[in-house]
């Protein structure tokens, strides 16, 4: 007993000793005014803090040694400082520099590891959630369509469908915190389930330059990174209102005490809908709908070496009925997962489990609103990934992943179908001298329906002064979807579409090169790429069948090439002009036609002005978007074309302490094109938005 007590005391004293070690300091601007809300992390551990109203932070450290401190805040340049931490209190102050170009910002998607934007060999475009709110954008698809040249959104059956670099959504992998989400309909997830309040940033990678991800990442990857819990208290509320009773509102509360952090966020959306084609009165351009999503996340850090993040989301969407049918749609999603990270030495291990179920119901209005299941989709992913810091110039990643998807659809042969996949991936990140960074990886998988598949890739970054040159060569693939394997759709006995269990994956070879200019007053990049896809799956009439039948077959192939240009130029302090342009040429080798739904030219120009005072800030933006013709070629004679259009949006935003008011005009020129399915705007609309930051209210509030 005595011995136990001794041991306990010993341990306790160790903990007390350990608690004495810490690092603290103050975050300030060059004029020495305090910066509150900046995030300070101890790279390679779970430890971190947020600066308080006096700009002061303090991080407790278990073990002395050499650490890297990273300070970041939106609108400022991210800074890293390596410090030697001895026992006792250590000090490290930072002076932040304002910057609209933050290339020190960390991204994760391209290499499955944290890397600064300027050092990542895979060109990544980032959209910040804060920026979206500043501009009064309250959904992810609008943000993507507006801010990513070459990304286009169309609306089929009231569901948004994206195209990236000429490739439709089947070839774009959509992730939330690196996890594939359930509920795809023809390759598109239900974008309205993305909880706006929860978005920290969206990372966009074009092309198949990251093969660490599985199926669908042929055309690109869009990864939504959700907010982390950093402060002891954070409370935010936002609301945006526009014509047709369009309301987007929500809020989030983060609390952190000791080793436990909690974050709760809620999003609510409603519109009365509108119709820009009144001649078809039962088919509105935008149906009424009401949706909400509720997200709960905990971050538990029992030690500075270990963290757990359990998280769960509930979402539902009810579409109002304006059709001639006595029924309406009801969508629902329930997901839950657990992420964990353990640091040992200079290495770390990630583990995660994710479960996601998406339900589509038909609500029968004449039968007491009985819900009938149309389909449900369940995705489960278990993953473990080791991150090995072999040396300062060599980082190795190895991961093992198990994926399982089950899809029930009334249009499936036999109803419920499932597929499984085991994946092993390895990636090595090598720094050669001062100039070259090479990331090479391979993803191998064994799939329950078609067997073995391997997809290697190499990406290179050459740094020459203020220029970055990047090159990527990679292979991508897309597994046949459960629909393509098992569909059995009887079109009233007139004709049929059937699946094909003999399908193999589509594969692609991707090559791209880019040059990037990095100056404090200009950040520009030019990318050229070529993507060749073979064994494309498409449905064709079966020649010798007794009934009219279309079946999915691996028969098509396509070649796509294009260029993307992005540029951001400072005119004077706080005033920037940005422009983007994308050109895509796509060619279906089998039919000699352009790929269905290709927009050759698209671009945008925007002017941003921001001025910051001690307690307030004011920003204004003029945003101009241009879309060229969008082609839907069925035969050389039968081509539908979405007309070219341009829209102008003006937003002003004023922030005083904890309150921010945003107002603006969408579609200033009042452009209405009822024929287009990639532009469903009902014309000019004013909107007003309100943001409250409860964390800033405090003692020295208004």
């Amino acid at each position: 007993m005595k011995q136990l007590l001794m041991l306990f005391l010993l341990l306790f004293s160790r903990i007390l000793c350990a608690q004495e070690t810490s690092v603290s300091g103050r975050i300030a601007l060059p004029d020495s005014s305090s910066v509150s809300g900046a995030t300070i992390v101890l790279v390679g551990t779970t430890a971190g803090a947020v600066s308080d109203n006096d700009g002061v932070y303090r991080i407790k450290i278990v073990k002395s040694g050499t650490y890297t401190l990273r300070v970041s805040l939106i609108g400022y340049e991210t800074q890293e400082k390596q410090i030697e931490i001895a026992r006792g209190n250590n000090s490290a102050d930072f002076i932040l520099k304002e910057s609209s170009i933050d290339l020190n910002e960390v991204v994760v998607t391209g290499t499955k590891s944290e890397k600064m934007l300027k050092n990542v060999p895979v060109l990544t475009q980032v959209i910040y959630g804060q920026k979206m709110l500043d501009l009064g954008i309250t959904n992810a698809t609008a943000a993507l369509q507006n801010m990513v040249p070459g990304l286009d959104v169309s609306y089929y059956g009231q569901r948004a469908s994206i195209t990236l670099q000429g490739m439709d959504s089947k070839y774009v992998l959509f992730l939330v915190d690196g996890e594939r989400i359930a509920g795809e309909v023809n390759g598109d997830i239900d974008y309205s389930m993305l909880n706006m309040e929860n978005i920290e940033r969206i990372e966009v990678i074009k092309g198949a330059s990251s093969s660490l991800y599985g199926s669908n990442a042929i055309g690109g990857i869009i990864n939504i990174i959700t907010k982390k819990i950093t402060k002891s208290f954070e409370g935010k509320f936002y609301s945006r209102y526009s014509k047709y009773n369009e309301l987007a509102t929500g809020g989030g509360i983060s609390l952190k005490k000791g080793i436990v952090g909690s974050r709760t966020s809620l999003d609510f959306n409603h519109t009365d809908g509108y119709d820009i084609t009144p001649e078809s009165s039962h088919d509105w351009t935008q149906n009424p709908y009401t949706s909400f999503s509720l997200n709960q996340k905990f971050e538990i850090t029992p030690t500075s070496r270990l963290s757990f993040t359990p998280h769960t989301t509930y979402y539902q969407f009810v579409r109002g009925n304006v059709s001639a049918r006595p029924a309406h749609d009801f969508y629902q999603d329930i997901n839950a997962g657990l992420k964990g990270k353990y640091f040992f030495g200079n290495h770390s291990i990630d583990f995660s489990y994710y479960y996601d179920r998406y339900n589509i119901y038909n609500v029968l209005e004449l039968l007491d609103n009985r819900k009938e299941t149309v389909s449900y989709d369940i995705i489960q992913t278990i993953r473990t990934q080791g991150n090995f810091h072999i040396s300062d110039k060599n980082n190795l990643i190895a991961g093992l992943e198990y994926n399982n998807e089950s899809l029930f659809s009334v249009r499936n042969e036999g109803g419920l179908k499932s597929e499984r996949e085991v994946v092993l991936y390895v990636q090595d990140d090598i720094q050669l001298g001062q100039l070259w960074n090479i990331v090479a990886g391979i993803r191998t998988s064994y799939h329950s329906s078609y067997g073995f598949n391997a997809a290697p890739k190499v990406s290179m970054l050459l740094k020459q002064g203020f220029m970055n040159f990047r090159a990527s060569v990679g292979t991508g693939f897309r597994s046949p979807s459960l629909k393509e394997l098992y569909m059995n759709f009887d079109h009233f006995g007139e004709w049929y579409i059937i699946g094909n269990t003999g399908l193999k994956p589509e594969s692609s070879r991707y090559i791209s090169g880019s040059a990037e200019l990095l100056r404090p007053w200009n950040n520009s990049s030019v990318t050229v790429y070529r993507n060749a896809i073979t064994d494309m799956i498409t449905d064709r009439w079966l020649p010798d069948s007794v009934r009219l039948t279309r079946q999915y077959q691996n028969i098509a192939s396509a070649t796509i090439y294009g260029t993307d240009i992005l540029s951001k130029q400072k005119i004077f302090d706080g005033f920037w002009i940005s422009a983007g342009y994308s050109y895509v040429k796509s060619h279906d080798n089998e039919t000699d036609l352009q790929l269905y739904g290709t927009t050759k030219h698209s671009g945008n120009i925007s002017a941003d002005y921001i001025t910051r005072g001690k307690n307030n800030s004011f920003s204004a933006q003029i945003y101009f978007k241009l879309m060229g013709e969008k082609f839907y070629e069925i035969t050389p004679e039968k081509t539908y074309i979405d007309k070219p259009f341009s829209t102008l949006k003006v937003t002003i935003s004023d922030e005083y302490k904890w309150l921010r008011i945003t107002a603006g005009v969408d579609n200033v020129f009042n452009v209405i094109i009822p024929e287009n399915i990639n532009f469903i705007s009902p014309g000019r609309r004013f909107f007003i938005g309100l943001n409250i930051d409860f964390g800033k209210m405090g003692r020295r509030g208004f």
């Binding site: 088919d283 029924a327 009233f492």
Partner: protein
């Protein structure tokens, strides 16, 4: 005073009662949902039976009045049958139109069944249907998939055996949201007159 009122009521009651006795008893408004989900089989309907019936030879039978296949509708006449079947569009719509049409006007132009070109998945196909009733719906081809939207026109139908009815085709979807279920409301005059009250 009260007595006068009672007497008056009685007189009016008798008067209206008598006038009704002179004409036919009022006919009932009925509703029927026909399951015409098949795109190969025709479903035959008889007003007199208020039900679908099995017909061995539709070209010679006078028992059926309307035939349904998906959204296509026949009458028992012209190219479809040996009866007197035909139809006319009143161009009045909905409940108001249905209530307002108390008789078949002499000006109504009845058309018998004929070949009609119908837009289908692979271009056009020719079907023998009633060209007047073909206006019972419009197709809204758009974002939420193809919809059959009733035009709400009230049609006069001449049955196989030469009697009259007024019909309002109200919906193409069953309560369980299946297409190919045509629901219609009608008043059928079995005495052969043109009165539809």
């Amino acid at each position: 005073m009260k007595k006068i009122f009672y007497v008056l009521t009685l007189v009016i009651g008798l008067a209206t009662g008598c006038s009704k006795e002179n004409s036919n008893p009022p006919i009932q408004s009925k509703s029927f949902e026909v399951n015409s989900t098949s795109s190969t089989i025709w479903k035959y309907f008889s007003f007199a039976k208020n039900d679908t019936i099995v017909v061995s030879d539709p070209l010679t039978s006078e028992e059926w009045d309307l035939a349904f296949q998906r959204y296509r509708i026949k009458t028992n006449g012209g190219m479809s049958g040996s009866g007197q079947g035909s139809a006319a569009n009143s161009y009045l719509k909905g409940q108001i139109g249905f209530d307002a049409l108390k008789t078949v006007p002499d000006t109504a132009t009845f058309s018998a069944d004929a070949s009609v070109n119908i837009a289908v998945q692979q271009g056009y196909a020719t079907y023998v249907i009633n060209p007047e009733i073909y206006t019972w719906f419009t197709i809204e081809l758009a974002t939420q998939g193809t919809q059959i939207v009733p035009s709400d026109y009230i049609f006069f139908i001449k049955t196989g055996d030469g009697k009259y009815a007024k019909v309002w085709f109200k919906s193409y979807y069953s309560a369980t949201d299946l297409s190919g279920h045509v629901t219609f409301q009608y008043k059928y005059q079995p005495d052969g007159s043109k009165s539809l009250e």
